[in-house]
């Protein structure tokens, strides 16, 4: 991948990677750090990574960074302020977008990851498997469970708008 192709990746994918990370960890500063770190790694490896594979590579690196970050926070015993806040204001959303966002937050991490990659990024199940290290069948299972869970959360009487 050339320098120009790398810069093109920044322009095309930085928002996507940031959105993916932020939706998962819900911490802006950490999400920014992870995106910056992911692109630093991409730049270090840019001569080895094909431009066509760069987006998947970025998501894979960002996901690994994200998991490391979550583990670090857990080890350090840092309270997840966002999760606390979520638990405290479970039903205080006001619009469809907020409701969906809330429902997304209730999903287990793996289900959330795969559904974000599928719906926001349009990845195939095979590609999601490459990014997450799951088999294609496992990806489908997680996505089915995620859609079913979202449906259940959103149709709860207290969540109906």
């Amino acid at each position: 991948m050339t320098r120009e192709e790398y810069n093109s990746c920044v322009r095309q994918y930085a928002d996507n990677v940031y959105r993916f990370v932020l939706k998962n960890i819900r911490h802006e500063a950490d999400a920014e750090d992870i995106v910056q770190n992911s692109f630093e790694i991409l730049w270090k490896k840019h001569e080895e990574v094909n431009f066509e594979k760069a987006k998947s590579y970025l998501f894979m690196v960002a996901r690994n960074n994200m998991i490391d970050q979550i583990r670090k926070r857990k080890r350090a015993g840092i309270a997840d302020d966002e999760s606390k806040a979520d638990r405290m204001v479970t039903n205080e959303y006001t619009g469809a977008s907020e409701a969906l966002d809330y429902a997304l937050r209730q999903l287990p991490a793996k289900q959330r990851e795969v559904i974000l990659l599928r719906d926001y990024e349009g990845y195939s199940y095979r590609e999601i498997g490459e990014i997450t290290g799951l088999s294609e069948s496992q990806v489908k299972v997680y996505i089915f469970r995620a859609r079913r869970a979202l449906q259940k959360i959103l149709v709860k009487p207290e969540n109906v708008l």
């Binding site: 926001y120 299972v141 089915f144």
Partner: protein, 284 residues
């Protein structure tokens, strides 16, 4: 997937809901559901929820991730445009100045002034006045009492390229970089508000003759201000945005840094849209 079991039934149900199963697979699924009716209920209840497009979340620090063009790009760039533009501007200047050279003798001071026109910031003694070549003699007299480079940011202004410098560069087998007025913060506003000053600067060899690029001298304040940092600060600066507000996000300009004696100099190549904006500024 060739077999269905309780571990992968959800994957089959997902494929079914998305219409991905062929006739043979549909028959397999139907047979499995006949034996395991609880999953038929799953399927009938299943109303998949899809996440809508989400465009509002934007990573605001993209500029910091970009890698500027490798050294030498701008030199190549400077080979083409400055030559053409300088030639055109030279012809235009000759056409403008010819009657004056014929009718009167230009004193050395005026020649020097013509060779190093000033761009002044708003609020300086000459702000708001339009420089014209015809009024230059009067302005030279008025300017005698005003110290040159009194305007902040203009003290380290680049002078008109000397012939020797060009020759030295050519001896090295390359073109000398184009010589632009070293734009300082605030100068863009001055250009926008006082286009006359800017027109006056269209003397061959000056920024006005190469309006497709600009350069900016940034002081080295400490060791942390590496060339890469300087590049980032330039790309994020108000100055860059003032020039290319419509294109900065989508089409970042190529830039390069060369280390001169006076510190690093950033060369910024503007995209075509950037040139149009400059032209609009200049009302050409």
């Amino acid at each position: 997937m060739t077999t269905i079991n309780k571990n992968n039934i959800e994957a089959w149900l997902l494929d079914y809901s998305e219409g991905q199963l062929n006739e043979q697979e549909l028959a397999l699924l139907e047979a499995f559901l006949a034996e395991n009716p609880e999953y038929r209920q799953w399927l009938s209840d299943f109303e998949p929820v899809y996440l809508p497009e989400e465009e509002s979340i934007v990573f605001k620090k993209k500029e910091t991730l970009l890698k500027p063009a490798a050294s030498g790009r701008i030199l190549r760039f400077s080979f083409v445009f400055p030559r053409l533009m300088a030639a055109a501007a030279l012809l235009a200047a000759i056409a403008l100045l010819w009657p004056r050279f014929q009718n009167q003798k230009i004193n050395p001071e005026m020649r020097a002034s013509l060779a190093s026109p000033e761009i002044r910031l708003p609020g300086t003694p000459h702000a708001g006045k339009e420089h014209t070549l015809r009024g230059q003699e009067e302005k030279n007299k008025k300017n005698e009492s005003i110290p040159r480079h009194e305007t902040p940011g203009l003290a380290n202004r680049t002078t008109l390229p000397e012939t020797k410098e060009n020759e030295q560069e050519k001896e090295k087998g390359r073109e000398a970089p184009f010589h632009a007025e070293p734009l300082q913060k605030g100068m863009i506003a001055s250009i926008a508000q006082n286009p006359g000053y800017y027109r006056y600067s269209e003397i061959p060899g000056w920024y006005g003759s190469t309006p497709v690029a600009m350069k900016h001298t940034l002081p080295v304040q400490n060791e942390e201000r590496t060339p890469a940092n300087l590049m980032e600060s330039l790309l994020r600066s108000e100055m860059a945005r003032a020039f290319i507000p419509e294109t900065l996000e989508e089409d970042l300009p190529q830039a390069d840094i060369q280390n001169n004696d006076g510190g690093p100099v950033v060369y910024l190549k503007l995209p075509p849209a950037g040139k149009k904006i400059i032209d609009k500024f200049l009302n050409r």
